[in-house]
C-alpha cells in the first residue's frame, strides 16, 4: 500500500503542483528524487523541500519500555498527603489539571508550586523557575512573598538543626536565596486569549531553566468565545502546544479549570468544565474542594491518573502556604 502525498504536512500549493505533475504517492516521488535523470524542473526548483519530505517520511524511532524506565522528576508540594497522592508531586513532562469551585484552593496550590519548584538541589528539589500564565488576575505577589518567607524560614530552621547539609557551594547557594531572588524566578505573563500561549516558545528560549508552567485559569479566556466549535479548536490547539512543550522541555504543566453543572436524568451533577475531550487529554486530574463546616480544611480528590486509583488527600491553607493538616485535629 502506498502513501498518498496529501497525507504529508505540506502546503496545499505544493501538493497541488505535485498532483498536476502526476505524483500521487510518496513512493513515486521518492523514486524520482533518487533518480537524477527523472528529476523534472519543478522538483529541481523545490530542492529545499526535498530534505523536508525525506524527514517527514522517516519512520519514528521507538524506545522499549526498559529504556524508558529512568524515573521522572516531580515537583513536591509542601503537603505530604498531596505528594503521596501524586507519587511524589506534580509530574514533570505531564499535564495536570486542578479543577474546583471558586475558593477551593486552585490558585493557592498553583502559587505554592511556583515556590516549590525552586527548592534547591541539595534539598532534592528541582532548583528551577516557573512561568505563571495569569488569565484572571489571580496572581498575587504579596501572597507569594508570604509563601517565600515561610519557605526561607523553614530553610534556615533546617540548616540550624542537627542535620548538616554540607558542601560549601551549597551554603553559598543558600545564602543567595532571598525573597527577591526567588520572586524574580517566577515569570508572570498576563493573557486573555489562549492563542497567545505561542509566546511561551520565546519565553522558554530566554529562560531555559523553567520546569513549571501554570495556566490559571485555563477556562477564563474561553468564556468570551461564543462559537462552540471555535472553542474546541482553541482548547485542543492550546493542549497540543502545551503537550509538545512539556515533552520537549521536560517541564510540568498545571492547568486550573472550573466546575460546571450538567443536567441529566438523575438531576443536576457537577463536573469539571470543558467536557470529556478535555479530560481525555490531561494526564492527571485533581478535584479540589473545601470541606463544608470545617474552617480551612480542603480535600484533593485524584480523579484521573495512570498510576493510581481514585484516592483523596486533605490539606489546609495557612499563611505559610499549602500544608498538611495538623496531626492532632482541633475538636470543634
Amino acid at each position: 500500500m502506498n502513501r498518498p502525498i496529501w497525507t504529508l504536512p505540506l502546503s496545499k500549493h505544493t501538493i497541488n503542483k505535485l498532483d498536476k505533475l502526476g505524483y500521487k504517492c510518496c513512493e513515486d516521488l521518492i523514486d524520482s528524487l533518487d533518480d537524477p535523470e527523472k528529476k523534472s524542473t519543478f522538483l529541481r526548483k523545490h530542492m529545499e523541500s526535498e530534505s523536508e519530505i525525506r524527514d517527514m517520511l522517516k519512520t519514528p524511532i521507538y524506545k522499549t519500555a526498559a529504556e524508558l524506565d529512568i524515573g521522572r522528576d516531580s515537583i513536591a508540594t509542601f503537603c505530604k498527603s498531596i505528594d503521596e497522592l501524586l507519587n511524589g508531586g506534580i509530574q514533570v513532562g505531564q499535564i495536570t489539571e486542578l479543577s474546583g469551585a471558586p475558593g477551593s484552593g486552585k490558585s493557592q496550590l498553583s502559587m505554592q508550586l511556583c515556590v516549590s519548584v525552586q527548592i534547591p538541589v541539595c534539598f532534592e528539589g528541582l532548583q528551577a523557575e516557573a512561568i505563571y500564565v495569569d488569565t484572571n488576575s489571580n496572581f498575587s505577589e504579596l501572597r507569594l512573598t508570604e509563601m517565600i518567607d515561610a519557605f526561607l524560614g523553614h530553610v534556615s530552621k533546617v540548616l540550624s538543626g542537627p542535620i548538616d547539609f554540607k558542601g560549601e557551594a551549597n551554603s553559598e547557594l543558600l545564602k543567595s536565596l532571598t525573597t527577591a531572588s526567588m520572586l524574580s524566578k517566577i515569570h508572570r505573563v498576563q493573557m486573555n486569549d489562549l492563542n497567545q500561549l505561542y509566546a511561551l516558545y520565546t519565553t522558554l528560549e530566554r529562560h531555559p531553566n523553567v520546569k513549571l508552567i501554570v495556566v490559571d485559569s485555563f477556562v477564563m479566556p474561553l468564556y468570551q468565545v461564543e462559537n462552540s466549535l471555535r472553542k474546541n479548536t482553541l482548547v485542543h490547539s492550546a493542549l497540543d502546544l502545551l503537550q509538545t512543550i512539556a515533552r520537549e522541555h521536560d517541564l510540568a504543566v498545571v492547568l486550573t479549570n472550573d466546575l460546571t453543572t450538567a443536567i441529566t436524568e438523575n438531576g443536576a451533577e457537577v463536573f469539571p468544565a470543558l467536557g470529556e475531550s478535555f479530560g481525555h487529554r490531561v494526564q492527571y486530574r485533581l478535584l479540589l474542594s473545601k470541606i463544608p463546616n470545617q474552617p480551612n480544611e480542603y480535600t484533593a480528590l485524584l480523579k484521573k491518573s495512570v498510576e493510581h486509583g481514585r484516592s483523596a488527600a486533605r490539606f489546609t491553607i495557612s499563611s505559610n502556604g499549602v500544608r498538611d493538616l495538623p496531626t492532632e485535629q482541633p475538636q470543634l
Binding site: 500500500m1 502513501r3 498518498p4 496529501w6 497525507t7 504529508l8 504536512p9 505533475l21 502526476g22 505524483y23 500521487k24 504517492c25 513515486d28 517527514m56 517520511l57 522517516k58 519512520t59 519514528p60 521507538y62 524506545k63 522499549t64 519500555a65 526498559a66 529504556e67 524508558l68 524506565d69 507519587n87 513532562g93 505531564q94 466549535l229 471555535r230 472553542k231 474546541n232 479548536t233 485542543h236 490547539s237 493542549l239 497540543d240 503537550q243 509538545t244 512539556a246 515533552r247 443536567i263 441529566t264 436524568e265 467536557g275 470529556e276 475531550s277 479530560g279 481525555h280 487529554r281 494526564q283 486530574r285 480523579k303 484521573k304 495512570v306 498510576e307 486509583g309 481514585r310
Partner: protein, 300 residues
Amino acid sequence: MIRLNVPLVPDENILNNLFERNIYTVNDFLQKKTSNLQSVCNLQCKEVTKLKDCMTVKCSSPFVNGYQFYLKRPVSIFIQTGIIKLDNILGGGLFAGNIYELCGPSACGKTQLCYSILLNLIITTKKDIVYIDTKNKFSVNRIKQMLKNKCKTNNEINAILSKIHVYSILDIYKLITCLHGLKEKLEPIIFIDSLPALYLSFIGFDKNDGLCYINHICSVLKYLCNKNATIMVTNLAVKTSDSTNYFKPAIGKYWFHIPNTRLMITTIINQQQMCINITKSAYAPLNEKCILNIDNFGVS
C-alpha cells in the same frame, strides 16, 4: 493510482512521450482514447489495446473464489487476553487480523485495560508489542507495579519491558508515517492509545482535514489487518448532543464502521470497577456484559 513506469509501458521513449502529454498514471492512460494513444506511443491499435488490458489485470484486485479463500486462510487462533471474563464475552480472546476498539469516557480505565492486555499478551505469545503513545503518558512505573505478582526476578521484568516498543507520537502525520513503517513487520500486535487525542484539534476548521487523515489511517489499519496484524485502538466516548447522557464514540461516522469489535467501557461510580459491553462485533454475540476490577495488579 500507480504512476506509469517502464515494465508497464514498453520503453523509455514512449514513457517520456506520455509524460509530455500529461499522462502520468495508469488511470490517465486507461481513460484516454485508444486512437489518441496510438499517435502518442507510435503503436498499432492492437498493441495499445493489449497494453490497456495488461494494465487492467496488473493494477486491479484479483478474484478469488470462496473455497480458495477458505483454503488460504491464515491458521490463526484466538489469542487469549488473560482476563477470563473478557475472554468469555469475546468468545475466546482476540482474533488476529481484527481491529478492536476500547471506547469509554475519560478516566474510565482504557489505558489500564490496554496495559493489562498488553502484559498478558507478552507473557503468552512472547512477541514484541508496538505501543503507540499519543499523549506522552506511558508509565513504566505502573507497568512494573502490575508485573509484581506475575514476575519474580528483575530479569524477568526487564525481559518483558524490552518487548514493549513505545512510539511517542504527538501529531497525526507522524502517526501515519509510523503505521506505514509497520507494514514490513510480521504479524504485529499494535496498541494505539489514543487515536482521538491527535484528531481533536482539527475539529472546528472549515475544511475538515482531520477526517481525511483519520480515513487514511483507517485504510492503513485495514491493510495491516490483511497482513494478520492485531490492533487495539482506544477511543474517547463523548456525550451525545441531546441531553440523554448517553455516550457515543468520538472521531466521526466513518470511523464508526472501522473496528471489527467495539468494547464500550463505562465506569461504575465511585468504585474501582468498569463494565464492558460489546456493541459491535463480527463474531461475538452483542450486548454481552462483564464487570472487571481494577487494582494494583491490573485489570482482572
